[in-house]
């Protein structure tokens, strides 16, 4: 018995929706890393402000996408079960609290903002997970991938903000390795899910391969930068390590953005129709409805 699958790509969420997951992931990751910097006594206001900007930009993109933008306040009406509502609620606390942390140079407020940012990112992952119509998003392995990708993007952007010391390179390398593991697990999960076959095909296309190459190149660049930082003799010029760190940071962010854009806009096939059984019409046996191949 064969199954008939008529899945088609979702037609409603475009790059603006993907932008929310891109901005939300990068922004949340950056806020978390900024809070770690704050606790470590490092400057944190610029990356924290930047992270808030990413989150706000992502939400603004969604606002531009919805059909009734002037009713956007209604998004807060369903906290009991909707992760989109919960995301909105967390954002309304995160942004002013983060802004206050920046304005007041407050480490405790930055830490609280980081906790909220982590919650915001978790909500975003759950938004995708709750989309029961789309197998590529329903995959259990997507949750850690979204979380690790956010941290990887955020720590990558943090490197661009000028922090190239060993702890930050180590943190970024850890985040990139976590994303690598999450990505491999996600791909393996998709391969084991027949309903996600078309999504798996999307991740074999040239744009996906490019994003994947950028992901690996970013990982290599950050690892090399860390190697330089650890092994370079005193007096060695810092420029190569700095360039490698910047390149790694850029690639860490861009590759994550590319994967999310593909995930939201290209790999999102709706489950649609699956027939577990097929009837045979007519009064005869199986042949009455099944023996004549006809053009459809």
């Amino acid at each position: 018995m064969s199954q008939t699958v008529t899945s088609r790509r979702q037609r409603h969420w475009d790059l603006r929706a993907a932008g929310n997951f891109i901005g939300g992931g990068t922004g949340s990751g950056l806020i978390v890393v900024a809070a770690i910097a704050a606790v470590a006594g490092e400057p944190f206001r610029l990356p924290l402000a930047l992270g808030l900007g990413f989150v706000a930009a992502g939400l603004s993109l969604v606002w531009l996408e919805i059909g009734k933008p002037w009713r956007a306040f209604n998004v807060f009406f369903h906290p009991r079960t909707s992760w989109m509502t919960r995301e909105g609620i967390v954002a309304t606390v995160l942004i002013p609290l983060g802004a206050a942390a920046v304005a007041a140079d407050s480490v405790p407020a930055a830490v609280l903002a980081a906790l909220l940012a982590a919650g915001f990112l978790f909500c975003q992952a759950r938004i995708l997970r709750a989309a029961r119509g789309i197998p590529a998003w329903r995959q259990g392995e997507l949750m850690p991938l979204i979380l690790a990708t956010g941290l990887a993007e955020g720590s990558g952007v943090f490197l661009l903000a000028g922090a190239h010391a060993v702890p930050w390179l180590t943190l970024t390398l850890f985040a990139l390795l976590a994303r690598e593991g999450a990505w491999l697990a996600y791909r393996a999960g998709l391969a084991g899910t027949p309903a996600a076959a078309r999504a798996l095909g999307v991740f074999a296309t040239p744009p996906a391969r490019l994003a994947r190459a950028a992901q690996l190149a970013g990982l290599a660049a950050v690892a090399l930068a860390l190697g330089f930082a650890l092994l370079a003799a005193p007096g060695t010029p810092e420029l190569p390590a700095t360039l490698l760190a910047w390149a790694g940071g850029v690639l860490a962010a861009l590759s994550g953005w590319g994967v999310k854009a593909l995930l939201i806009t290209r790999a999102a096939f709706i489950r649609a129709v699956v027939l577990p059984v097929v009837p045979t019409r007519g009064s005869g046996g199986r042949g009455s409805g099944g023996s004549h191949a006809r053009a459809v």
Binding site: M1, S2, Q3, T4, T6, R8, Q10, H12, W13, V62, E65, I66, G67, K68, P69, R71, A72, N74, V75, F76, F77, H78, T81, S82, W83, M84, T85, G88, I127, A130, A131, R132, G133, I134, W137, A268, I270, R271, A272, V273, V274, L275, P276, V277, V278, P279, T280, R281, R286, G289, G290, S291, A293, R294, V296
Partner: protein, 217 residues
């Protein structure tokens, strides 16, 4: 307790699309939007192939995933099981469309007409501005059901209280009624035939049954 469901007898459906046309005419959906569709599918591998026509649309699930994710509470559920959309609450985020495993939701951002930029006379009376920029889907013709039951009519038996697609079906493939009426035609039909519901593994408990017996496993 009433629970309205629809039954599609896959042995009877001939794929004439009359239900699609009747729904479109009655509900005035814009071009490209069809709340009641009939898929024309070929299954199997040559030379052992089958052709099957599958009416699809909102399955009015008992546990609707669209309602769970809806951030605005625009998607609701009536006591009789019909899943509804409040067009005044919906923000048009389309999250419900992502959550629906049945690809049953539509949304158009602007009014579209069948012939050019201006509506035809019929379209002008049917356009339904409240349905632009929000999610829409099959309503099981809830308005007809409510108007009919208010007059003492029985949905699924009296045409004035029955969804348009069911009324129009030329082969009797589409049936509608209260599954909780244990002696009613729907309960009897399902008791006497083999049926399945789509994507039951998702726990949605759809209110749309497909009869298929004497078919191939």
């Amino acid at each position: 307790m009433t629970r309205y469901v629809m039954v599609a007898d896959l042995r009877r459906c001939v794929g004439c699309q009359t239900c699609t046309a009747a729904c479109k005419e009655g509900n005035g959906t814009p071009p490209g939007v069809q709340w009641r569709r009939v898929l024309d599918l070929e299954t199997g591998t040559y030379p052992n192939v089958n052709r099957v026509f599958v009416p699809v649309g909102c399955q009015h699930c008992a546990n609707p995933p669209c309602m769970e994710v809806c951030p605005s509470t625009a998607t609701g559920q009536r006591a009789d099981g019909i899943v509804t959309i409040d067009y005044e609450l919906c923000i048009g985020c389309s999250y419900c469309a992502m959550a629906c495993p049945y690809d049953a939701r539509s949304m158009v951002d602007h009014a579209e007409y069948a012939f050019g930029e201006q509506p035809t006379a019929v379209e002008a009376t049917r356009i339904g501005r409240e349905r632009i920029g929000v999610a829409t889907k099959c309503t099981f013709c809830a308005g007809r059901i409510d108007a009919g039951t208010a007059r003492g009519l029985v949905p699924g038996q009296d045409p004035e209280a029955t969804p348009l697609c069911v009324n129009s079906c030329i082969s009797g493939a589409l049936r509608f009624g209260d599954i909780e009426d244990k002696d009613g035609p729907i309960a009897t039909l399902l008791a006497e035939n083999q049926w399945f519901r789509m994507h039951e593994s998702e726990g949605t408990e759809p209110g749309f049954y497909y009869i298929w017996d004497k078919g191939t496993l």
